[in-house]
């Protein structure tokens, strides 16, 4: 394993130091491991806190800033943050209008955020939670821990953040977050495994001619292993999986996301196929993101996330945002 790190143990702390140095709009509390927007807490504004394991950058720290998150809590690599971090962040962004927790649906994330929310409630902090669970590769049934939260997290953070910025109440901000989640679906494909620094070797092994379909964002093996195929076939398989789960039509917000080790040129190849397939299904790719937004360390592969837009959601998506990884309108 070769990585640009000092030690596996210090990786998250070292990267936080880099974020602090690179982004004057952020304030990084290295001791408590919380990334704040410099202006937090904002009086009268609903605070947005998210967090999760590290290794998914720019998620979540890269989405802290005007129009999106107020704070992010990075855990160790692929390990959800601990309740202390979330409590600290929640207090730090509370401007009197309550705080929204945006949580990806994984047992660890759910448990740690739940514990934090309970303790915040004891201290009379108003907290609401949006649980993101958009990954169609996992069936939401008695036989699973429910669907995983993946790409839709970016959409939820952006759109809920825009509504919070506009002065909406905690209930309203939570509601739009849930709406975005309900209208979004994701599907991921891996060409290679990733290597967790503390583990020191790839999480799984794939042959030269094999890929994993239906992967998440933690290097976990997918639902099925399949022969490698042209980008067109993979893009179609992804869009079809989304469409089978939630028929797509009308204006959509589409993200073709790289898993961390995939060159941008390949993501554009995939996007062309995804957009074409969406049109075949009767949907319009009205807004898009192509790039690395929610990654899995150095994994090669991509995920497709589609959100069925409404006029209101489009307006909130288009609203100004100023974060390290997503910026427009200011």
């Amino acid at each position: 394993m070769k990585k640009l790190i000092n030690t596996a143990e210090s990786m998250v702390t070292d990267a936080l130091a880099g974020m602090a140095a690179a982004h004057p709009g952020l304030r990084v509390d290295a001791g408590n491991r919380v990334v704040y927007r410099r202006s937090a807490p904002e009086r009268g504004k609903v605070g947005l806190v998210s967090g999760g394991g590290s290794g998914h950058e720019p998620l979540h720290g890269g989405f802290v800033g005007y129009g999106m998150l107020d704070a992010a809590c990075p855990g160790e690599v692929f390990t959800s943050p601990v309740p202390d971090q979330v409590i600290e962040a929640t207090k730090g962004v509370d401007g009197g209008a309550g705080v929204l927790h945006i949580v990806k649906n994984y047992t660890g994330d759910v448990l740690n955020f739940e514990m934090a929310a309970e303790l915040c409630a004891e201290e009379r902090l108003e907290v609401a939670t949006v649980l993101v669970n958009d990954d169609v590769a996992v069936k939401d049934s008695l036989y699973t821990a429910g669907r995983r939260g993946t790409g839709a997290t970016v959409f939820v953070e952006k759109i809920a953040g825009a509504l919070a910025e506009a002065g909406a109440s905690l209930a309203e901000v939570a509601k739009v977050g849930e709406e975005v989640n309900a209208r979004s679906r994701s599907f991921g494909v891996a060409l290679t495994s990733c290597t967790v620094p503390a583990a020191g070797k790839p999480t799984f092994e794939l042959e030269e001619s094999e890929i994993e379909l239906g992967i998440g964002i933690h290097g976990e093996p997918g639902r099925t292993r399949a022969p490698a195929a042209p980008a067109r076939d993979l893009a179609r398989a992804a869009v079809d999986a989304l469409h089978d789960d939630m028929p797509l039509s009308g204006d959509t917000l589409v993200m073709v996301n790289g898993m961390g080790g995939t060159p941008l040129i390949e993501l554009y190849v995939v996007y062309a196929e995804v957009a074409a397939r969406l049109r075949e299904k009767g949907a319009t790719p009205a807004r898009s993101l192509v790039g690395n937004y929610i990654t899995s360390l150095d994994m090669q592969g991509f995920s497709v996330t589609v959100c069925r837009l409404t006029d209101e959601l489009t307006r909130l998506w288009d609203a100004p945002v100023e974060t390290p990884a997503l910026r427009w309108g200011r």
Partner: protein, 208 residues
């Protein structure tokens, strides 16, 4: 069994987890996200430090501090779950300076109940519960059957091992491994494996 005994148990867990770190990570790589070894190693190292910094006076206080530290330092699924287990055990033991094997058995049952309640997993879901629950049952039964401490803890350990083994062919229904569906069958659950380490450490500590 006094505070020193429980502190020694934690030390032994920490040692075993460091030694078994790679194996736990390998098991987690197969059906999870390859961090279980690092998580527990980080967690129990922190627990050992916390106990050394401010040695608690009672068994209950040792386990409560251990549980709180895990919750504060580990994250992931195993942090809150093992943390809750130890905190529930600590609460069950109260402030007694010494506890019997029977009291420990009851505390372990309380710990299992805490994990069940928090995580919602039943036996057969292929989680740490598959090793923890039979271990608690075996300890209770052994004590009721009049076995000596060492033998009772050996029975608990054996039950944990057997539980972890029995879960291997099962399909996971909780935690990350559940995302794999049928592909989770045939693999040992990392949490069940770490529970075996923890029960083994208990037996080792008692028979040393």
């Amino acid at each position: 069994m006094d505070a020193a005994f429980f502190t020694a148990w934690i030390d032994e867990i920490a040692r075993a987890v460091t030694a078994g770190r790679e194996r736990l990570t390998r098991l987690d790589a197969a059906i999870g996200d390859a961090d279980h070894g690092a998580n527990l190693d980080r967690g129990f190292t922190a627990v050992r430090e916390a106990l050394a910094a401010k040695p608690p006076a009672t068994p209950g206080a040792v386990l409560t501090l251990a549980g709180t530290t895990l919750i504060r330092k580990v994250g992931g699924a195993s942090g809150p779950l093992y943390g809750t287990a130890l905190r529930q055990m600590g609460a069950a033991l109260g402030s007694a300076p010494e506890v019997t094997a029977g009291e420990l058995a009851a505390a372990l049952e309380a710990g299992v109940a805490g994990v069940r309640k928090l995580g919602g997993a039943e036996e057969g879901d292929k989680t740490m519960v598959d090793a923890l629950a039979p271990a608690a049952r075996a300890l209770t039964a052994a004590v009721a059957g009049g076995l000596k401490d060492g033998e009772a803890l050996a029975a608990a350990r054996a039950a944990a091992e057997e539980g972890a083994r029995t879960a291997v062919p099962l399909q996971a229904r909780k935690g990350r491994a559940s995302y794999l569906g049928e592909r989770s069958a045939g693999h040992e659950d990392p949490g069940a494996a770490s529970t075996v380490l923890i029960l083994t450490a208990l037996h080792t500590t008692a028979t040393r």
